[in-house]
């Protein structure tokens, strides 16, 4: 229910012209449970915009989003527009006509293409996802028809993407929730229920990287199948679902749009007492804490640890921040037989009496990661509050009072959703653990050069290849610190770039005697006559001070000269996070050409370029046969 007081407060803030209105609006929008509340908040937003109530913070560029499908796209577009706006992803919208999507997509002169969308949301009509023959037809005939439905949907997406390079978000199909056919529904592919389920699965499995599924089947099941639909809303105004489900669909769409340019969180930081086990180890002793299969509560904590272990397997780094004596806390991990998580699962273990916000900052420095890639979990509201206040970049999860609900809370947090799973994700913990071993070696090595020599580094440079695209895109979208231009690119953007002869693009992998760092640096150059413009230069901070940047410059100079370029031109575009590379080009021997508030340009003549000496052995170079 909309809270009348909160409504009143927002109204007051608006009438008084106070910019706090926007913070309140964002908060209320996040909490809004139903359609009419969201719609009212959207009206308030439009009133505030009409009054030109000033907004604080960054102004975000609008994403051009086209909506089309077999339904009326109003008021879905209203909700998408509102949620996008309050969540920092404002959209400029283009709406297709009711059930006109096939011709809008097939006709190259249509308004869809005139709009030049960056993202297209397509809601294909449910009535076209139906087996047209008899329930008793052969399984093969039914399967073939489902396959044709999937292929025609994939073809629509392909057509949009080829023509516009847009990312495509497509809803799949809700399953029927009525009892029609009874238990027989699952014994034939001819029923709407199994046919749509089959189409949904095949669509998801076959979707190319530019196609993102908005899983309506899942959203409706989560919401409740009966109330997800509203026949009257279909007859009267051609709605895709009930007004009750519409906010869930809109939220999912905005979430998917945000995922296009945002990486998942990397580190999960865990409290210990009453988070990983029941009780307080300092008071109850290792024998007194609740963990394991001897009590329902102990089982719940163990299940939570098991789920956390699966997150680690998916590539999330685990860390501990606990108010405890280090030895007492560590002993549980070393010796308690029922613990699922062990010390070698944890990349950073901070059990001490410092404020947790300080511990988080220290972890970020040690692991060379931004605080905004951290998620902190605690059962104690006071600890959560300290982190919110003193390390506001960190996302926080306050666990509820019942440990049996911990797993669900983490599963619903949406911070760790994989985009495309790369095998390097799974090996990440060992990479970061070897990073601490390398730090130890650095402490004893007499000088930097001897240290680098002792690492036995091998670098492998490779032009962009289709198989590397997910990893390259991931690095492009998550690198903030060592990133000269911070230009984000999706997998689809990269695929397009690879076919453009003006561009050179390569990535670097590095390994040393402690392990494989994987793909850690990306360079994109764009040739214009005799100049090679450095469009993108970024590097994972795990390999700072390892001379990777020198080898990247060597390689770019080599490629540029082979294409008859005489100079490199680089720009630095400042962001709140990339201060570490402000003077980078000067350090690399470039000359300053031009500076203004938004960027600084540098150049390097390369007719007489001498490769920079490094301790990295390059075992492969870009655009060369292996």
């Amino acid at each position: 229910m909309p809270d009348p007081d909160a409504e009143h407060n927002l109204q007051t803030l608006l009438l008084e012209g106070r910019p706090e209105f926007w913070d309140g609006l964002k908060l209320r929008t996040r909490e809004a449970a139903d359609f009419s509340e969201l719609f009212q908040l959207s009206s308030l937003r439009k009133k505030a915009e009409a009054r030109q109530l000033p907004k604080r913070g960054a102004v975000h560029k609008k994403t051009r989003l086209a909506l089309l499908g077999g339904y009326s796209l109003y008021p879905l577009h209203e909700l998408v527009g509102h949620l996008g706006d309050t969540e920092g992803t404002p959209c400029e919208l283009w709406l297709g006509d009711f059930d006109n999507y096939i011709s809008e997509i097939m006709d190259e002169e249509s308004g869809l293409y005139g709009f030049e969308p960056q993202v297209v949301l397509l809601l294909p009509a449910e009535h076209r996802c139906k087996y047209t023959g008899a329930l008793s037809d052969s399984r093969e005939a039914q399967r073939a028809e489902a396959g044709r439905v999937v292929d025609s949907l994939l073809e629509l997406a392909r057509k949009i993407h080829t023509k516009t390079h847009a990312e495509v978000i497509m809803t799949n199909f809700m399953l029927p929730a009525r009892r029609d056919l009874g238990a027989y529904r699952s014994r034939t592919l001819g029923s709407d229920w199994s046919f749509r389920k089959w189409v949904n699965l095949e669509l998801g499995f076959k979707a190319p990287p530019y196609l993102h599924i908005c899983d309506l089947e899942f959203l409706a099941a989560r919401h409740g199948g009966i109330s997800a639909r509203d026949e009257r809303a279909w007859f009267e105004s051609k709605q895709p679902c009930s007004a009750a489900l519409l906010p869930d669909v809109a939220r999912e769409v905005v979430h998917l749009i945000q995922n296009l340019r945002r990486a998942p969180k990397k580190v999960l930081v865990l409290d210990l007492d009453n988070t990983l086990w029941g009780g307080v180890v300092a008071d109850d002793g290792m024998d007194g804490i609740e963990i394991g299969d001897t009590s329902p509560r102990g089982e719940a904590f163990k299940a939570f640890q098991k789920y956390i272990a699966t997150l680690k397997q998916r590539g999330t780094l685990l860390a501990v921040a606990s108010k405890n004596d280090h030895a007492v806390a560590a002993e549980v991990f070393e010796k308690h037989p029922e613990m699922v998580l062990r010390l070698n699962d944890i990349v950073s273990f901070k059990a001490n009496w410092e404020p947790k916000s300080d511990n988080l900052r220290q972890m970020a420095a040690e692991l060379n990661l931004g605080l905004d890639s951290f998620v902190f979990v605690d059962d104690n509201p006071a600890e959560i509050e300290i982190v919110r206040q003193f390390a506001p970049e960190v996302a926080t999860i306050l666990l509820g009072p019942d440990p049996s609900e911990y797993v669900g809370q983490l599963q619903d947090c949406r911070f760790f959703e994989p985009r495309s799973i790369t095998s390097e994700d799974a090996g990440r913990t060992s990479q970061y653990r070897s990073e601490s071993q390398r730090q130890a070696l650095l402490a004893v090595a007499a000088d930097m050069d001897a240290y680098l020599e002792s690492l036995g580094m091998e670098g492998s440079i490779c032009e962009f290849t289709p198989v590397d695209v997910p990893r390259v895109s991931q690095l492009i979208n998550k690198s903030n610190q060592f990133n000269l231009t911070t230009r984000r690119r999706s997998e689809a953007d990269l695929t397009v770039l690879m076919t453009d002869p003006a561009y050179v693009g390569f990535s670097v992998r590095l390994r040393d005697r402690f392990g494989d760092h994987g793909l850690i640096s990306v360079m994109i150059g764009r040739q214009e006559g005799e100049t090679m413009h450095i469009d993108t230069w970024l590097m994972s901070c795990r390999v700072l001070k390892r001379q990777v940047e020198d080898e990247v410059l060597n390689e770019l100079a080599r490629l540029a000269r082979s294409r008859d370029c005489t100079r490199l031109e680089g720009i630095y575009r400042p962001t709140p996070k990339n201060g570490m590379v402000r003077e980078f080009y000067l350090k690399m021997g470039f000359n300053l050409v031009y500076r203004d508030e938004t960027s600084t340009r540098y150049e390097l003549p390369i007719e007489h370029y001498q490769p920079r000496p490094t301790r990295i052995k390059i075992v492969r170079r870009a655009y060369e046969p292996i």
Binding site: E7, D34, F35, S36, F39, Q40, S43, K46, K47, A50, Y74, P75, E78, E231, R232, A233, F235, E236, S237, Q239, A243
Partner: protein, 81 residues
């Protein structure tokens, strides 16, 4: 609730949905309000049904010719509960 009580409550729903203030009278029609198009209408109905805890039958709101008749319909559906 009678028609005038419904109208009073309806006024608050309209205030939340429309950007410009709309003064409700029984004779008012959608044509009199520039913002009140078929699209805003969908959102308006969801809000009305929620505020009065009623559910209209398919097509019947379309049959009402002005706000007064609409309020009468709300009264009728409320009496059925």
């Amino acid at each position: 609730m009678n028609q005038s009580e419904v109208l009073a409550k309806l006024q608050t729903v309209f205030d939340n949905v429309f950007l410009e203030p709309v003064a409700l009278t029984p004779a008012l029609t959608a044509k009199d309000v520039p913002e009140w198009d078929s699209l805003t209408h969908i959102s308006l109905l969801v809000s009305v049904e929620k505020a009065f805890s009623v559910r209209f039958r398919v097509g019947e709101v379309e049959q009402t010719r002005n706000v007064g008749e609409f309020a009468d319909l709300i009264v009728k559906r409320m009496q059925e509960r």
